[in-house]
Symmetry: C2
Subunit: 216 residues, 2 copies
């Protein structure tokens, strides 16, 4: 006998003003009515897990064309009340610009939360989010992941702040710059960022067809 249901869950991350954020949707029905949960849904027999999560994220969060990478499978017997549901979690990383220009409205209440200021989370999704965050930090050591967050212009201080958060220690600005530039992954755009205060930083972009190298 086999009453196992399989669902997908999508921790979707972005960075806004050097703050890591995750997208959550508010649950409209019991159980956990009013709580925030990850987008996702049941896998039917005519869909792969990638098709399933893409459709659910579009329907619930209004974002299309994301890339997903497998995070982890959660199979505890009591992770969903009264049913046996195994969850496959799939991480996506999206840039600020894509969200602002492409996210469409849905029938769901959707919001981005800083990862250290999460609301009340339903089911075992706190656990799913914790696992995804620790994997996100590992992924951010790869140049291709960084490129997903910064497909267009960025400044070196912005990137430095990411690494200071990921490694939880401060880095020397001069050494960071030297090391990063030596990798030969990025080039100056010739433009400068808008400075809020202080000297404006140079804007850089990733070169085309970069290698996926370990950064730090």
């Amino acid at each position: 006998m086999n009453n196992v249901i399989i669902e997908t869950l999508a921790p979707i991350f972005t960075i806004e003003d050097s703050v890591f954020k995750i997208l959550l949707v508010r649950k409209k029905t019991e159980p956990y009515k009013g709580y925030w949960i990850l987008p996702g849904g049941i896998v039917n027999d005519d869909k792969t897990i990638n098709e399933c999560i893409s459709e659910n994220v579009l329907e619930q969060a209004g974002i299309d064309n994301l890339n997903f990478e497998q995070s982890y499978v959660f199979s505890d017997l009591d992770r969903v009340p009264d049913k046996r549901v195994i969850a496959v979690s799939l991480i996506s990383i999206v840039d600020e610009f894509k969200i602002k220009s492409h996210q469409v409205s849905t029938n769901y209440e959707v919001a981005w939360f800083p990862i250290d200021q999460l609301p009340k989370i339903g089911y075992d999704h706190s656990n799913v989010i914790d696992v995804a965050i620790s994997q996100l930090k590992i992924k951010l050591n790869q140049s291709k992941t960084l490129q997903q967050i910064f497909p267009s212009d960025f400044t070196l201080p912005e990137i430095q702040k990411i690494y200071e958060q990921v490694s939880a220690k401060e880095l020397d600005r001069r050494n960071f710059r030297k090391k990063f530039l030596k990798l030969d992954l990025i080039e100056e755009t010739g433009y400068k960022a808008q400075s809020v205060t202080g000297r404006p930083a140079k804007l850089y972009r990733f070169k085309q067809d970069i290698e996926n190298v370990i950064l730090f």
Copy 2:
């Protein structure tokens, strides 16, 4: 409607005489009768995926008390003929000594194959094995993984050969030795390996409670 079945699959690796091997079982029934496949089985609603794979591996391969780490989820619609089966693959790494002293006989035909000399493989398990091998190579850069393969004595040339296979390039013996010893993970046992030819190598063991560091 939901006719999705979930199964576990276990690529189990060991190293014998510096050769990477994987454990396979011969399928006794159609489809793929006579082909070799990974141990594993259907997940019922009263088992986590870890419980499921542990029981299946014990029953089929006769090995108990393995540690498993998630590899990947395979959800292509046609990966199993006539049914919709999603597979969760879980890698285990086991040492030669444990196999020889603890593996018990089962009703299955079981064998270890060098990973570059695989037999005829059933279902999509070639693909599952390929994914597992590439992840195994990444894992072998961690000290804890190496310790799983060498819980007791080993020689430095043995370990060097592993890295030469993983990185597909030759390393200098003197530099390898210096770098590895400097990590302060291992200690001399005072004994020497049996030499087939040439000077016998010193035997080392891992220290207790080592850090899980990146090796190369």
